[in-house]
Symmetry: C2
Subunit: 557 residues, 2 copies
């Protein structure tokens, strides 16, 4: 018996018209801007949601990722389907996947098995064009920078210190580092430059944190694109670029409505990187969802040390969001990996490795509670999991003061996550959450980093060269001291060493570099090798992707 692929399951979906999906949320056809019959953007002006009360906000996060896979998105969708199944008006909000990686090795990012969002091919490729709009806005700014230099450089830009890079939604290592403007005077002044993948563009982070078009334009104007010859920051506003960029992003600012395989509504909007950005869907989508539904299930990238920390310290802080509960996704296999088992052995029952690896779970539970948010553990079920291991994991979670429920969203859809949904509702009903960010705005930047390293990563301390310390001081002097920090480090460990599994402690987090995202309004602190433009593998997925004789897409996942 062969297990059907995600795309095969997705293709059997009986999708409702998107207007009918919208109707389940009380949205009239007038407020639905269709993109085909099964995708839409929501016309926020016509919705007029301001007066409505907010629903409960549920963050789905995970233990430290492993090669075994955790299934955070699958759990998010399964939980949302389950909440709807038990009669709650629930809405999931997710990040949009990036097109480029689909042609490399990555599978889609629209869930899996029977917990998927559809139409999955569209969602994973061009969708409603949001990322293309971001690419255009990013590259318009880049073109305006070089054009300004070409025509006399009145702002005195130092071409060695331009930090704004071009972008494409494509895995293309050849573009990481280039020299541009070659070929003579007609083509401008040669300089070193490079491309990031679109999800790594600051424009993406800005779109996801802006509260409305006005705030978008304000943030775009704040973007620091480099320095002038006096060493002062030059902004997109100095280049009169923000208005035109906002025009390009006007439609992209509206959240996208799609549906799960069980026809429950899902908002998918924005997809910032989870290392050099904050890694969760747009604020607009989250706010819209809170007005439209009684329960909103959202998701943050990577493990809770990165994704949840940023969700809380960056997004919730700035937007005044108050999460009600965190769902921490764990798997038996991943915890056994954290307990020291090798990947090839993970199918073997091993209670000891599971118990040992649970230290990772424990650390994340403790971390989430530091934000005043109660935790429910979701055990994402894999086919080979033994009953004994599952029982043990539930027992372990209980010993940490958490309820744990098995989630079979992949195999069963919402039906497989009903007990999890009931536990989440029960936790929300307790109203025990008392959200607060981990550090105050006024703390010096380096101290903010120290708090995250100690409290979240379990580090003994941080270490930073003079140049990094100087960069923090410079930013504080320039008025950016009140911004939150956005940590960029490996997602595979609490430490900066991807090989340290479980819950390492006593390590030192070495800070390598500091980057200002003045429009996104955070300071990126880099503690590891951060790749902002992926490459393609030796045999790229693209080689096997094509249209079959019925015009259907084959080989995408």
């Amino acid at each position: 018996m062969s297990i059907p692929s995600n795309i095969e399951i997705a293709r059997t979906a009986k999708m409702k018209r998107i207007t009918a999906v919208a109707e389940t949320l009380g949205i009239s056809e007038e407020a639905v801007i269709p993109y085909g019959h099964t995708k839409a953007k929501l016309d926020l002006e016509k919705l007029d949601l301001k007066a409505r009360p907010d629903g409960k906000l549920i963050l789905v996060t995970a233990i430290t990722p492993t090669p075994a896979g955790e299934g955070k998105t699958t759990t998010t969708i399964g939980l949302n389907d389950a909440l709807n199944r038990i009669g709650k008006r629930s809405l999931a909000t997710l990040r949009e996947p990036s097109l480029g990686p689909c042609f490399g090795i990555k599978g889609g990012a629209a869930g899996g098995g029977h917990a998927q969002v559809v139409p999955m091919e569209d969602i994973n490729l061009h969708f409603t064009g949001d990322f293309h709009a971001i690419t255009s806005a990013n590259n318009l700014l880049a073109a305006l920078i070089d054009n300004h230099i070409n025509w006399g450089n009145a702002l005195g830009l130092d071409t060695r210190r331009i930090t704004w890079r071009r972008c494409l939604d494509m895995n293309d290592r050849a573009l990481r580092s280039i020299v541009s403007s070659l070929g003579g005077p007609a083509n401008g002044y040669p300089r070193e430059d490079g491309f990031d993948i679109t999800v790594a563009s600051e424009v993406m982070a800005i779109l996801c944190l802006a509260s409305d078009l006005k705030d978008l334009e304000r943030r775009l104007a704040q973007i620091v694109i480099g320095k002038n010859r006096e060493g002062r920051f030059v902004t997109a506003g100095d280049l009169n670029a923000a208005g035109a960029m906002a025009v390009l992003l006007k439609d992209a600012m509206l959240p996208n409505l799609v549906q799960s395989l069980e026809n429950n509504p899902v908002l998918i909007h924005g997809g910032p990187f989870a290392n050099i950005a904050h890694g969760c869907n747009s604020l607009i989508a989250t706010r819209t969802a809170l007005k439209l539904a009684d329960y909103v299930v959202t998701e943050a990238g990577f493990g809770a040390d990165l994704g949840a920390e940023k969700f809380f310290n960056i997004k919730c802080r700035k937007a005044g969001l108050k999460p009600d509960v965190a769902v921490l996704v764990a798997t038996v296999r991943a915890l056994k990996f954290h307990g020291g088992m090798e990947r090839a052995d993970l199918s073997k029952v091993n209670i000891e490795a599971l118990s040992k690896g649970a230290a990772n779970l424990q650390r994340h539970i403790g971390n989430l509670r530091k934000f005043g948010v109660p935790v429910v553990v979701a055990i994402n079920h894999f086919a080979g999991d033994s009953d004994g291991e599952i029982a043990k994991l539930i027992e372990i979670a209980e010993s940490f003061g958490c309820v744990a429920h098995v989630c079979k969203g992949w195999a069963e859809g919402g039906k497989g996550a009903v007990s999890l949904a009931e536990a989440v509702v029960a936790e929300c009903d307790k109203a025990a959450a008392d959200f607060k960010p981990l550090y105050p705005d006024h703390l010096p930047l380096i101290e903010k980093v120290r708090v995250v390293a100690r409290e979240i990563y379990g580090a003994a301390d941080i270490a930073a060269d003079v140049s990094v310390r100087q960069a923090f001081s410079d930013l504080e002097l320039a008025g950016f001291g009140r911004l939150p920090v956005c940590m960029a480090k490996t997602q595979y460990s609490f430490s900066t060493d991807a090989k340290l599994r479980g819950a390492p402690e006593g390590h030192v987090v070495k800070l390598r570099e500091v980057r200002l995202s003045a429009g996104a309004e955070f300071v990126v602190v880099i503690a590891g090798d951060i790749m902002t433009m992926p490459g393609l593998p030796r045999v790229p997925a693209a080689n096997g992707i094509g249209l079959n004789k019925d015009g259907q897409i084959e080989g995408l996942f």
Copy 2:
């Protein structure tokens, strides 16, 4: 009294729902794939048009362009509105405008005044995402090329002879010439590279000439991306790229439906450059329109020496289209410019200059007749035109055996083009057309160029260095000898000297370079400076573009 801008007029439009516009063509809602409420793609499978007869095909082309402006698109839209006004089922098909130039100096490309297509902001910016899809497909192929080289270069690609360039829909001179893959082994092998604007990508030309998805994939596989170390052509098919590229272009292959200010349906689809490509809307749109309407008004880029010649010799030849009539757009001002007046003086009445400049009109009329297509002259009316000049121009056209009618589409919409529409219908009713391409497939490539130069440009001959002659021979040896040629020369003169107005003759057309577009299935012959990546001006339009307080776009045109 201030004259309202195009965007102001467009904003007052009372747009119909796109489903209602489709209904006027007998298209059911099921076959309409909406993109918002006023744009749609047509679901060709659901339309099932095969059995229907074809309507009449009307090509709108123009005299040699001048700085005075001719108004070809305005005439096309006005004529289509007029045909509908006199009770004909008529459908216009146009090219999609490019996003990048909107931020430079160029106005929009959706007509003007009261002869516009709406929603003009959308059409001029992201529209339905077709160009973004083309950008993605183009750049996926580029990434696959460098990835192939990075992982061992099994095909033995000669990195000095890769001709496939990356693209962006942005005016960005800094990207014309770059060195890529810098920064060490992780980023591949450094080589010279560059970006074209998306409309100059061969993928655009392919999309516009492909008859269906299968033909699209076949053509994509044929793309020659460069040579291997033995000097043999390497194709996109050799890199297994065509399937994934076709997947990215799947939706982009469907024609887009919008409406004129008078709510008449217009198909806008594809937009290849008119120099290194063939410069007219997609074959799919034209064929669909011919099935949906009794009259199809379409348009070709630049003057008739380039646009109409390519429309006939490339598009009609390959697709078996049989144009019924050509509408040749002329203006009093432009002909006076051709007659030797300077731009600043064009408002002055000058019958002599008009008569002299009419040599340009005469040449184009004669050229069009060489294809067996009857000609109707459209005099696009400008505010300052004197009645005497108009009368003279009608008289001149008559002396060339053509009826000429004033078209006031800009000022009056369809009402201003009724007599033109009636003349076009009368010409179609005569069924006098007997279309044939200018040269047979079997003629050697260089002889095809000679025929175009002599018969269309009025040249004495062509001239070509050994290298160019060798390039032609190489292509014939490689099996590409039966392709049509696609001439790339200045649009401002019949000669290769942009300053030679009127109807120069006896000149020699010097061929500089030959490029193979194996997927588009034509051979580009370059006889001039061809810019495939525009730059931005000193004060780019972007500086003045933004959203007003109602969220409307300002400053776009």
